[in-house]
Symmetry: C2
Subunit: 347 residues, 2 copies
DNA sequence: GTGAAAGCGCTAACAG
DNA sequence: CTGTTAGCGCTTTCAC
C-alpha cells in the first residue's frame, strides 16, 4: 500500500480519524477545545500518514505565514568578507528555528533589485515581518516599508528614528572605552580613522572618540582625525595622512582599516606597538592572528540577530515592542597592538 | 481619497478596468491571449492602484511559489568565519533576484532543527525547490528530500551520487595543480594536511595530491600525510606531527590549516618559505595579508551559487537538469608562501 | 479574446 | 467539545 504523501489534506485526515476537518485543524494548531481522546486519535493518524498542512493554504486563510524576511539593503555593499553579516544572519536564523519561523533572505544589490523585491517584503508578500539592516541612507526603503504597514525591526541605528523599532550596539560607549584605554596607556596624541561618512555608525564612533578625549582633558585636534571607508586600503591612506602629525596611538573604526594603518606605519619605519599603538573595531577572525595581535572591540553580533527576531515577533504578536530602541554593550578585547602588553599593563 | 492599498484584490482591479477577474489574472501572468487594448487598460489600473497579487493565494491556486530554499546542513558547522558560505549565499541570492525568485535560508543547527525544518523544505512546504550544501554525511537529509520529490540541487559532491544533480569545484584537479606547483619548485618531500575525514572534499583533495606525486614519479609516503579538520588548530597539530619527517613543502587542504601549520613550523625554527614552502586552499581574505602572503587555491564560489540556482530552475521548469554533475575549475593563486617568488619562479 | 465557475487546502466564526 | 459553513485571493479549465 503506497500512500501518496504528497496530496494528503486535512479532509483526508479527518475522514481517517472519523472527525471533522475543523477538529483536525484544531489539533494541528493546538487549540485547547479538543478532548484528549480525539486529540490522541487524530495525532496518531497524522503521525501514521506523515501529514503536514499545506503552508500556502494556511497562510491564505489565516493571513499569517510564520515567515519573516531579513533585508540587507542596497548600501550594505558586501555580504562578505566582513563576517558581520554572516554572523548576524546566523543569529537571526537560529532564533527563527527556535520560534518555528522560516527566514527569507533578501540581498538587495541595486535600485532595481529593491523595486523588484519590494512587493515581496511589504504587506503584500507573505512575510509576517521584516528585519532590515540599516546601511547609509536606506531610510527610504525603511520608510516605504513602514508605510506599507508591515512589522519591522531595524538593526543599526537609522537616521530617522521616528516610529522605528531598532537595535544597535553602543558604538559611542565602545569607542569611548577604546580611546580611554589608549589614554590610560599614557598616550596623549591619539588619532582616529573614521568609517564611511553619512553612516550613523561612523558618527557614533567619532562621538565616543571625542567623549574620551574630553573626559581626559585632552584637546581635540582635527589634524588627528582622518577619513576612511572601513576598508583596508582607506586605512592605509588615512594613516599616511596622519603620520606627519605624529600621533602616538590610533583608534580605527574598523579592524580592516587598522590593518591598513599598521601597514602604513611600518612602511614609515615605525614599530607597532612600541612607537605607536592601535585599536580596531570588529574583532575579525584574523585580528587574533595578526602580528601584533590586534586590540579591538567585539560586538555581540549573533545575539543582536536573535534579539532582533525576538523583538520582531513581539511586534507581530503583540502589536508593538516593549521598547523602541535596544542598545547592546560591546567588549574591548585587549591584545598586543595597543601596547598594553608591552608596557605590562594588560588587563 | 485614501485607497487602502492593503486589500486590493484581482476582483477590484477587474471591476475598475471593466473586465473579468480572469482577464486581470491573464494580464498579470503575461498570458498571450489578451487584446492589446484590454491589456494596457488593465496595466494602467494596476499601476494607478499599486496592486500586487497576493502571494499565498497565488501559490495555493497554482501550486508554485517562486521561492526556493538554501539549506546548510547540520554538519556544516559554521556560517562564518569561513567566507565560503556567505559567498555561496550571495551568489545564490543574486541569481534569485535575477530570476525573480525569493530565497529562504535554513541553517540547520541540530538534529531537532532538521526534523522541524523538514516539512518546510520538502514537497509539503511552499518551496519550488531546494539547494543543499552537502556536508559530511548529510546524505540522509538529501535522500529524504529526494524521496519527498522536491526539485533539488546539491552543492559539493555527495557520497551517493545516484539520482542527484550536483555541482562541485574540481577538488582533485585543484590539488593536483597545487602540489604539481610545489614539485615544479624543486621540492621532493611534499607533505599534505588533510581536511575532516568522511568528507568528499577531503577525499578528492587527497586524490589530487597523490595524483601529482604519481605524475612526477615521487613516492607516496604515509608519514607525510597528516590528519586535520580544516581548522587552524588542527593545522598546527598536524604540522607538529609532520616536522620530524622533514618535509620541504606542505599542501594544506584549507588556508586556516596552512596558517596553523606555518605557525608550528616557525615555532620549530624554520623560515617560510626559505626552509619550507606552503600552499593552502580557499583564498581567505587574510591569505593575501598574511606574512608571507599565502599561495592558495581560489574557488569560484559565488558563480557556483548562481549556477546552482540556474540548474535548480531548470529542474523546476523542465523536469530535469541538462547535466547531472557540473564541475567547475579553480585557480591557483601564487604568492610568497610556496617559495616561488623567493626562487624567482613566480608565474 | 473573454467570462463563468470550480476549486487550491486551510482557518475561523457560528451553531449546537 | 465538535461540526457546518463561509470564505482567504488567485489560477485554470471550459464554454462562448
Amino acid at each position: 500500500m503506497t500512500i501518496d504523501i504528497q496530496n494528503l489534506t486535512l479532509e483526508d485526515i479527518a475522514e481517517k480519524a472519523g472527525v471533522s476537518r475543523s477538529t483536525v485543524s484544531r489539533v494541528v494548531n493546538e487549540h485547547p477545545n479538543v478532548s484528549e481522546k480525539v486529540r490522541t486519535r487524530v495525532l496518531q493518524v497524522i503521525a501514521e500518514t506523515g501529514f503536514h498542512p499545506n503552508a500556502a493554504a494556511r497562510t491564505l486563510a489565516s493571513q499569517r505565514s510564520s515567515m519573516i524576511g531579513f533585508i540587507l539593503g542596497r548600501t550594505v555593499s558586501s555580504f562578505f568578507p566582513d563576517p558581520y553579516f554572516p554572523q548576524l544572519t546566523q543569529g537571526i536564523a537560529q532564533a527563527c528555528n527556535q520560534n518555528r519561523y522560516t527566514l527569507s533572505l533578501f540581498l538587495v544589490g541595486s535600485r532595481e533589485d529593491e523595486a523588484m523585491i519590494f512587493p515581496n517584503v511589504s504587506r503584500k508578500g507573505l512575510l509576517d515581518g521584516v528585519i532590515v539592516q540599516s546601511g547609509h541612507d536606506d531610510d527610504e526603503l525603511i520608510n516605504k516599508l513602514i508605510t506599507s504597514n508591515i512589522p519591522i525591526v531595524v538593526v543599526g541605528r537609522p537616521f530617522e528614528v521616528e516610529n522605528v523599532t531598532f537595535l544597535d550596539v553602543d558604538n559611542v560607549e565602545a569607542s569611548r572605552q577604546a580611546v580611554a584605554h589608549l589614554i590610560g596607556l599614557g598616550n596623549t596624541r591619539i588619532a582616529t580613522i573614521e568609517g564611511s561618512a553619512n553612516t550613523t555608525v561612523s558618527i557614533d564612533r567619532r562621538r565616543g572618540y571625542e567623549k574620551a578625549l574630553a573626559e581626559a582633558g585632552l584637546p581635540l585636534d582635527e589634524k588627528l582625525i582622518a577619513a576612511g571607508d572601513f576598508s583596508e586600503e582607506s586605512g592605509y591612506r588615512a594613516m599616511e595622512a596622519l603620520l606627519p602629525h605624529k600621533p602616538d596611538a590610533v583608534f580605527a573604526a574598523s579592524d580592516a582599516m587598522a590593518f591598513g594603518a599598521i601597514r602604513a606605519a611600518r612602511h614609515a619605519g615605525l614599530r607597532v606597538p612600541e612607537d605607536i599603538g592601535f585599536v580596531g573595531f570588529d574583532d575579525l577572525p584574523s585580528a587574533r592572528r595578526f602580528e601584533p595581535a590586534l586590540t579591538t572591540v567585539r560586538q555581540p553580533v549573533s545575539e543582536m540577530g536573535s534579539k532582533a527576531v525576538d523583538t520582531l515577533l513581539q511586534i507581530i504578536h503583540e502589536g508593538a515592542a516593549s521598547q523602541a530602541a535596544t542598545i547592546v554593550p560591546t567588549e574591548l578585547v585587549v591584545r598586543n597592538s595597543c601596547g598594553a602588553k608591552a608596557k605590562g599593563l594588560a588587563q
